[in-house]
Symmetry: C2
Subunit: 397 residues, 2 copies
Amino acid sequence: MISQEMAKLGKKRSIIREIFEYGKIRKAEIGEENVFDFSIGNPSVPAPDCVNAELTKIIAETDSIKLHGYTSAQGDYITRKAIADFINKTENASLDPNLIYMTVGAAAALTICFHAITLPQDEIIVFSPYFAEYKVFIEGANAKFVVSPSDNKTLLPDYEIFKSKINANTKAVVINSPNNPSGVIYKEDVIIKLADILREKQKEYGHPIYIVSDEPYRELVYDGIKVPFLTNYYENSLVCYSFSKVLSLPGERIGYIAVNPKMSDASEMYAAICGAGRSLGFICAPSIFQKLIPNVLGQTSDISVYKENRDILYKALTEYGFRCVHPDGAFYLYIETPEPNSIAFAEKAKKYELLVVPADDFGSSGFARIAYCVTTEQIKKSLPYFKKLAIDYGLTK
Amino acid sequence: MISQEMAKLGKKRSIIREIFEYGKIRKAEIGEENVFDFSIGNPSVPAPDCVNAELTKIIAETDSIKLHGYTSAQGDYITRKAIADFINKTENASLDPNLIYMTVGAAAALTICFHAITLPQDEIIVFSPYFAEYKVFIEGANAKFVVSPSDNKTLLPDYEIFKSKINANTKAVVINSPNNPSGVIYKEDVIIKLADILREKQKEYGHPIYIVSDEPYRELVYDGIKVPFLTNYYENSLVCYSFSKVLSLPGERIGYIAVNPKMSDASEMYAAICGAGRSLGFICAPSIFQKLIPNVLGQTSDISVYKENRDILYKALTEYGFRCVHPDGAFYLYIETPEPNSIAFAEKAKKYELLVVPADDFGSSGFARIAYCVTTEQIKKSLPYFKKLAIDYGLTK
């Protein structure tokens, strides 16, 4: 008599969670230091010092009613203005504070967008490999979840397949760059190509097709590579952002939606976002974190740790014979598994106390995700075990 | 091409918001101290000192990764255990930490519950007058919103009308005690009567009918009146709680759902709640406030201010000839309007700089809500204006 669909969602753990739970048990058995848990994308570096310093200052100096009271549903104007100013300066964009909506993180930003845009029969396309919850969020908004497989060599969109997935019911496309699980960045040429295809398809079908850009890893980029800011390239775009990864605050739930002011129906879209937020029960984003954001924009936790981890791991694993697209961002390495069955590979890795996530959780196969957001010491200690795994598969001697 | 339903929700301000916005303009015109704004149910007393002291301590003493990291979706076990222990001790209840789910406030608790229980064709009953967002939340979960008008004299359920509203499609009933907008409390006899009716109807229709209890005002009770704890009276009950009002933290979004362990399918219900939370994009409740709660359970902001306000206002208004059910809790006075048209009454009140909310926003008519969560000084200063309004209506001389 309750929703079986919801009960199933509540009971079914993701593969990631299964492995994480296994890791907890295994650590209890053989000691935490002997299990190499690369399962979870949880930031491993602390929040920058300014975060706790500013929080403490805000608590000490702000009137309680103002500090802890309701903000407007779309968020404090001062916060939205600071975000728009910051992005406009750093990305040469033209965001409008009155088209920014503060959310309890990127997940909420996504569900609100999907509920705002979805009409009956609508389809939303994602590129695989994809963050598993996209399916849950898109189907939760009653849209059809459509997968467009990426090119297996580059992990970038396969444009011909992509075109074939678009039809009269296509309402939106989700992109996620830097990508979870692949670490791949969609550089300017990719964004331009996607935008061109969508503009043509919009003309063909006579209605907007939105790009919903999920950007929790925007600043987790190494080697100075530039992540193009979507609103500069495509009018019908919605940016979903979270401060979870850049400030190591994933449990605090603070992010935003930015509606591209160049969208022709931007204010209607913003109204629908406000309506969807209201309908889903998001009264406002946590007030204290809204107050924090203007004071810490541009700050990041120590991202150099992730870069060092990536460099060590990528170098060693490719030396051992594993194949992997070089990841330019996020904190994931996505290796081709030496046997086609990713789940069997992940099981074998367990024998060497290496916990990695098979691609099946990302709507793909033949790959495994290594979340290298752990200590550099753990990375170094894990290398001999990866070598043994490579030997087991005959990749090296 | 976007959801017009959502756009309408986003654009349509509630009557409360309209009046609040009018108040802001009027204050700019004639000075803040000359406008008596009773429109918004925003706590007017600061959070108790322990809140900011504990927050500061938690920030100083907790490892950053633990403090700001993801909690499990259902919330930190230590927080859920503390809540269960506290309620079990103070309410003689039998809550189970493994059936408590932490939420970003009561609104999220309600939307999650409605999504967890609703199947196609389902109906959910609320008693009018009701908190306006119930309609938005229930319809957002695709259930039919059914209103059961209360008795106009007592503002308690009219049991015969209530029975007539229950049918084979009835999935749940929402109660809200202490009540917004009436301040009325459902005492033990009311809860027992509702439970008896529902048990009979469950038998008649052969399926559970849940009570969803919205309890943000649980502790805002004066004169030592006891609010019965629902799970002690009715098996198929879900408690939706928020710390917003008791701790004056409405902008921070922290609350919970408690599934009654006596429910026969409690663990299935809990799974559906976890699934609905996931589907709607609630990753976890803000971590820092989850850490705070165990340290401040049982604390309240200075509720004596609300009691004093209520006493002064109730005494004066009834002396002036207004009629009002004596409110035992929350921070609202719900007066009968001297003319049947509540909106016309609220307009006339504006002439005396009194901003009150007509009952139409609460699915009712012939009443107006006075939110007395303002300073006691404002209450005292407003009395001559209420008297003038009463004279205008010929209620007093």
